[in-house]
């Protein structure tokens, strides 16, 4: 039996449907991310788990008990907020110990637990500081410690890194995963950042317009997206118009050039099918078991580790190809005629 279960959850605000038909089973110790654009219902779902919102329909079960109508202060669920939400009138130690104090935990035990949490987040020397005396990253670590101090059954994180700068975000991301794995705590993480979701999670729930689009491991979500939304939202994707589709022969033409594909038959194809290929699947040049396309280099964009080459393959169709940067890379110039190729198995129809 799953540890945290959401069954037929929906939430409406007036005429607006924020979440609909949400069903999810989360195992104990699992790290699940809700990934989607703003307004897709991911935070609303998290808030329903926390008890800040009441589902319009459906049930939430935690460790076998129905918590749908249980007040948030009785759920023993820890939450980390986007804007830290540290109590500004309390020191770091008082913030971390707050949950234990309101539970009437003996002072000695509160002190022991606070010290333990400070060690866990590597902020031992900051115990007597106030939130305004700390950086955003440090405050968010304190917020994490505060949520963990009460030994919650589930840890909820609502876009905890989005207010931080890029470098701190990556550091703290690793920290969150380390702590989660150390404690083995069941975690639900909300983010609109695909890199965060893919790098942290055991499973990712991709959401759009209040609905679940796909649930899977980061590998499945990235490599085998089941909907156009997932394919285009997670990672970069070329969606190219095709003609002369022959599903039996698994062939079509792209800008008049023949293409073979290995489309899995169980996936529905839309009325106006398009060929989907990740930019990193392209090579400059030929190769075995690969589709070949001829075109002219339109632009070269230097992105550091990656160089994005946009190639016009005719009929106004542009493809984006990501090449790994290396000093030995023989880059074409804008306007050069080039041959690009990609594996037959790397493309699919949407």
């Amino acid at each position: 039996m799953s540890f945290l279960t959401l069954v037929d959850i929906s939430k409406t605000f007036g005429a607006t449907v924020a979440v609909a038909d949400f069903n999810l089973d989360i195992e104990k110790g699992e790290f699940v991310s809700f990934l989607g654009p703003s307004g897709c219902g991911k935070t609303t779902t998290l808030r329903m788990i926390a008890g800040f919102e009441l589902p319009t329909t459906g049930n939430i079960t935690l460790d076998g008990a129905d918590i749908t109508f249980q007040p948030s202060n009785q759920r023993n669920v820890g939450m980390v907020f986007q804007a830290y939400a540290l109590f500004p009138n309390m020191t770091v130690a008082q913030n971390i110990g707050f949950g234990l104090q309101v539970r009437k935990t003996p002072p000695a035990e509160v002190r022991r637990r606070v010290d333990e949490m400070l060690t866990l987040i590597h902020l031992e020397e900051f115990a007597s500081r106030y939130p305004y005396q700390m950086s955003g990253g440090q405050q968010q670590r304190v917020a994490l410690a505060r949520a963990l101090a009460i030994q919650p059954r589930v840890l909820l994180l609502d876009e905890p890194l989005s207010a931080l700068d890029a470098k701190i975000r990556v550091e703290l991301r690793l920290e969150i995963r380390r702590i989660q794995q150390t404690l083995g705590i069941t975690t639900v993480y909300v983010t609109h950042d695909q890199e965060e979701a893919l790098s942290l999670s055991d499973r990712v729930v991709v959401m759009s317009r209040g609905r679940m689009e796909q649930v899977g491991t980061p590998y499945e979500i990235y490599n085998y997206p089941t909907t156009e939304f997932v394919a285009s939202f997670v990672g970069q994707l070329n969606l190219l118009p095709i003609a002369n589709l022959d599903r039996d022969a698994r062939s079509c033409t792209l800008a008049g050039q023949p293409i073979r594909f290995e489309h899995s038959g169980d996936r529905p194809i839309s009325d106006t099918p398009r060929l989907a290929i990740r930019p990193e699947e392209f090579w400059l040049g030929d190769g075995q078991e690969r589709n070949l396309l001829r075109g002219r280099v339109e632009t070269l964009i230097f992105l550091g580790a990656i160089i994005r080459v946009r190639v016009d393959i005719g009929d106004g169709v542009l493809i984006s190809a990501d090449l790994f940067n290396a000093r030995s890379l023989n880059l074409p110039r804008v306007g050069d005629e080039v041959l690009v190729s990609f594996p037959v198995h790397a493309c699919w129809l949407i």
């Binding site: 939450m79 500004p88 009138n89 707050f98």
Partner: protein, 304 residues
């Protein structure tokens, strides 16, 4: 390529006229000149005049007699009454104003109620003096509309019940008219600053509503609440026209005593009046300093 041209370019740029001419900065100062002029003419000069006058007798000789006079029983009594009335109206107005501000901010009242309350408060906080006294006499005086209505329709004679508009409590009640709106105006921003996430975080950590208010919200709000109440205290402490118009000097407030010492025919002693005023300035300045200290503390907490 030599480095000389670059150096010339740098030199040229450094010598270039400023993007914003100096004239513009001069014009900015011109804009605030009336403020400084006003402050100098009507705050600094009178304060100096008061201070000097407080140390002079009626013949212009330097003396400490005026300050010794402050310890006369009737003067001490005036200070005591003024402090009492200021404290009562600061507490009453503060409590009333806080509850109203709470209802339209943290509470669930519709937005239009907030707009109406804040607009009213903006006007009422500055509505004092003769018009306010007249308004209260017309409504709660012996023959005021409300008094007559209660007496004739409900059979309740306020004055028979011990109420008098011209007493300590009547004056306090009148002061509330401008005290609670001032509280609404000063405490609303602080209540707006209470983040929803603090409440949710507290709840999430297991706190009850009572625990949230006693351990988080009220400690955060305490500096601005106390600061606003001190402001109310000072506001009441300096009120003159309302009390004079309403009670005709029947209640012995410091401001009324000052008035009678400066312009009175019988009690004419401007030196004592100035000393009384210096005492008031000290009380008001202390109140303001405490207000700013508390506000600074609360702003520091809320800084991100």
């Amino acid at each position: 390529m030599s480095s000389k041209p670059n150096a010339e370019i740098v030199q040229t740029k450094r010598d270039a006229p400023q993007a914003r001419p100096a004239m513009a900065r001069w014009r900015d100062w011109l804009g605030v000149t009336p403020f400084f002029l006003f402050t100098f003419l009507f705050i600094v000069l009178p304060s100096v005049y008061l201070l000097v006058g407080a140390f002079r007798d009626t013949r212009g000789q330097i003396t400490l007699k005026n300050f010794v006079g402050l310890f006369a029983p009737e003067i001490l009594s005036a200070y005591w009454v003024t402090i009492r009335i200021s404290a009562v109206t600061a507490l009453g107005g503060g409590l009333l104003g806080f509850m109203m501000a709470y209802a339209v901010t943290v509470g669930g009242l519709p937005r239009w109620v907030r707009t109406i309350l804040l607009t009213f408060s903006g006007v009422a906080a500055n509505f004092a003096g003769v018009p306010l006294a007249f308004a209260f006499i017309a409504t709660l005086g012996r023959t005021g509309m409300v008094t007559v209505f209660l007496k004739t329709v409900l059979g309740l004679d306020l004055y028979d019940q011990g109420f008098s508009l011209y007493s300590f409590w009547g004056l306090s009640f009148t002061y509330l008219y401008f005290q609670f709106p001032l509280m609404v105006l000063t405490i609303t921003p602080a209540l707006d600053g209470l983040k929803r996430e603090w409440r949710e975080a507290a709840e999430n950590l297991g706190a009850s509503t009572f625990q949230y208010w006693t351990r988080v919200a009220l400690p955060i709000l305490m500096p601005p609440i106390l600061g606003a109440m001190i402001l109310l205290f000072g506001n009441s402490f300096g009120a003159y026209a309302t009390a004079l118009s309403l009670t005709g000097g029947f209640i012995n407030l410091v401001t009324i005593v000052i008035g009678s010492q400066i312009k009175g025919d019988i009690l004419y002693n401007p030196g004592l009046g100035y000393a009384l005023a210096v005492g008031m300035v000290i009380v008001m300045a202390t109140a303001m300093m405490i207000y700013f200290a508390l506000r600074r503390r609360s702003e520091r907490w809320l800084r991100q």
